[in-house]
């Protein structure tokens, strides 16, 4: 692979919300490809390139915890903002948290650590003189220095991700020996069921795409875009 990169990410908690359990959020067992893409894009992205996730290595045992928080139930209504703009005063735009309270639990991952293997392809929006090597260099430079567009996160912004570049010739960071269990597919492959692959932002209605995720010896292979394994 010409433009492959490997990024080591870890954090204290992660929440890769399952779309079917998103009111009281429950995380997937493993980082989704779309979350991995978001992390790479937080470090470097231009419309000229699109990131493709190849595989995700799981380095720590999969553990969960529950956190319940007070949340608000509503989004800002565009209509109220518009009429306030016209009127020229702010009345009625605010959200009253204690009258609009929802208590929601989230089942989050504990101490997750991954290696994301990915590459990028030039997209349709790339100019004729676009140079793939340039973007690869920019990404590698930024990731090695800890630079980012915004701090990447593990599924939700309150769970910040620490990241470090794994240089091309360096070995992968060591996996926690305690993680080498059937839970991560050591011995026999573990079926994680259907997992969100990504959201098709180009299509009308923004449909979700899924794939059948499997952990084999701690590694989740991610199907390539357009392959038959990506289900719509």
């Amino acid at each position: 692979m010409a433009f492959g990169i490997r990024l080591h990410v870890r954090g204290r908690n992660a929440l890769f919300t399952r779309p079917e359990l998103k009111v009281e959020r429950v995380s997937y067992d493993v980082m989704t490809p779309s979350a991995a893409r978001g992390i790479l894009e937080a470090i470097h992205w231009k419309p000229a390139i699109s990131w493709v996730i190849d595989r995700i290595h799981v380095l720590e045992p999969i553990r969960f915890q529950s956190i319940r928080r007070n949340e608000v139930g509503h989004k800002a209504p565009a209509g109220a903002i518009k009429s306030a703009m016209k009127r020229g005063d702010l009345a009625g735009v605010q959200l009253l948290v204690d009258e609009d309270r929802q208590q929601r639990a989230a089942t989050v991952l504990v101490n997750p650590a991954y290696v994301i293997e990915a590459h990028f392809t030039l997209s349709a929006r790339a100019g004729a003189d676009e140079n793939a090597g340039k973007h690869l260099d920019i990404f590698n430079r930024r990731a090695a220095r800890g630079q980012c567009f915004h701090q990447p996160c593990l599924g939700a912004r309150e769970f910040a991700a620490d990241f470090a570049l794994v240089p091309p010739d360096a070995p992968l960071p060591a996996r926690n020996p305690q993680a080498e269990t059937a839970d991560l597919g050591f011995g026999t492959p573990r079926d994680l069921g259907l997992m969100l692959w990504d959201i098709d932002h180009a299509a009308p209605g923004r449909p979700s795409m899924f794939f059948r995720a499997r952990l084999v010896d701690g590694v989740m292979e991610v199907p390539a875009p357009g392959s038959a394994e990506v289900l719509r």
């Binding site: 204290r12 908690n13 553990r63 915890q65 529950s66 956190i67 319940r68 928080r69 007070n70 949340e71 608000v72 989004k75 800002a76 209504p77 565009a78 209509g79 903002i81 518009k82 009429s83 703009m85 009127r87 005063d89 702010l90 009345a91 009625g92 735009v93 605010q94 959200l95 009253l96 948290v97 204690d98 208590q103 639990a105 504990v110 930024r142 220095r145 800890g146 630079q147 980012c148 567009f149 915004h150 701090q151 996160c153 912004r157 309150e158 769970f159 910040a160 620490d162 990241f163 470090a164 209605g205 923004r206």
Partner: protein, 316 residues
């Protein structure tokens, strides 16, 4: 106002004495804890609530510093109702749902929200403008605060010398307790952490600041809020909470000059044993009395070999 041009990462260190910094709605308002390690937690949203409250107090009515996610009643709304009642005009339209017709309009709405509301400009907000694109992602991102050592919450039973209603009083009288002092008594419960030192991490993206117009002045206000937000959040439940340290890493480059976690690792917290620094996982600490004040801890900042272009600002 020019937007912030440098990336910042910050470490907020605060403590609680005989109070409950953040109750867990799942556990009957017990202080939040990591169930595996017994370290105390304070959620990101709890800290953001305090920042909002501080800005609301300190910049009440100041142009561009309104708070979108508010607590309590809005006085403006009441004022408006009065005007409407007196003048009889201003029929606000009651459309079921309104979405902006074009992207340009959605941008305009977003820009107006960012210009008027400090918390939208700082933390972002989700607005139902268009399909899945009405989000303002704010430059400031905060994580859960975690106590440096396991906490040991204490349940305190309290009594109240009054009954809530007549029925309760009758029931008590029927029980016929001869001691009149215990008449009408109600028992209550408080959960406190005798002492806990918490650390939260925060990130400020210069690139997102560009998009929402979060300026240098906003940064100063944010830091001011972080330093003194607990001073204006006194209540029976909180006990004594204080911001002890606020350490800001300012990067010269808008994208940053060093990984955030490497900078955070430079802030080392240990126990103070007769004036000497001891690591928290030092086995020798087992015989030491539990920490009950800030001076039982030592916070050290490793300034050796700081990456080029990173400046440490100690606000507190």
């Amino acid at each position: 106002m020019t937007p912030l041009s440098r990336r910042h990462d910050f470490v907020l260190i605060f403590d609680v004495t005989n109070g409950n910094p953040n109750g867990d709605p799942d556990a009957g308002n017990l202080p939040r804890m990591d169930p595996e390690t017994n370290h105390g937690l304070v959620s990101d949203v709890s800290l953001k609530r305090k920042i909002r409250n501080y800005v609301e107090l300190a910049r009440a009515g100041v142009e561009g510093h309104h708070i979108y996610v508010q607590e309590g009643a809005i006085l403006n709304e009441k004022h408006r109702q009065a005007y409407v009642a007196v003048r009889g005009d201003e029929k606000s339209k009651k459309d079921a749902k309104l979405n902006p017709k074009t992207d340009a309009e959605a941008d305009e709405l977003r820009a107006w929200m960012c210009a008027n509301f400090f918390d939208v400009r700082t933390f972002g907000a989700v607005m139902s403008t268009g399909i899945n694109c009405g989000q303002v992602k704010g430059p400031v991102q905060m994580t859960f605060a975690r106590s440096v050592e396991p906490i040991f919450p204490v349940e305190v039973s309290i009594t109240r010398m009054a009954a809530t209603n007549e029925a309760e009083k009758k029931k008590r009288d029927a029980a016929d307790d001869s001691d009149s002092r215990t008449d009408n008594r109600t028992m209550g419960r408080k959960h406190i952490v005798p002492y806990g030192l918490y650390v939260a991490h925060g990130f400020i993206s210069a690139k997102f600041a560009e998009r929402t117009g979060f300026s240098e002045a906003d940064l100063d206000l944010l830091l001011e809020a972080l330093a003194s937000m607990f001073e204006h959040d006194r209540s029976a439940a909180r006990g004594e909470m204080t911001t002890r340290k606020l350490i800001v890493f300012a990067h010269e480059n808008p994208l940053g000059n060093a990984p955030a976690h490497a900078l955070f690792d430079r802030v080392r917290i240990g126990r103070d044993v007769d004036g000497a620094f001891r690591e928290l996982d030092d086995r020798g600490l087992g015989n030491l009395a539990p920490a009950r004040k800030f001076s039982d801890y030592r916070v050290e900042i490793d300034r050796e070999g700081l990456p080029a272009g990173v400046e440490i600002r100690e606000i507190l």
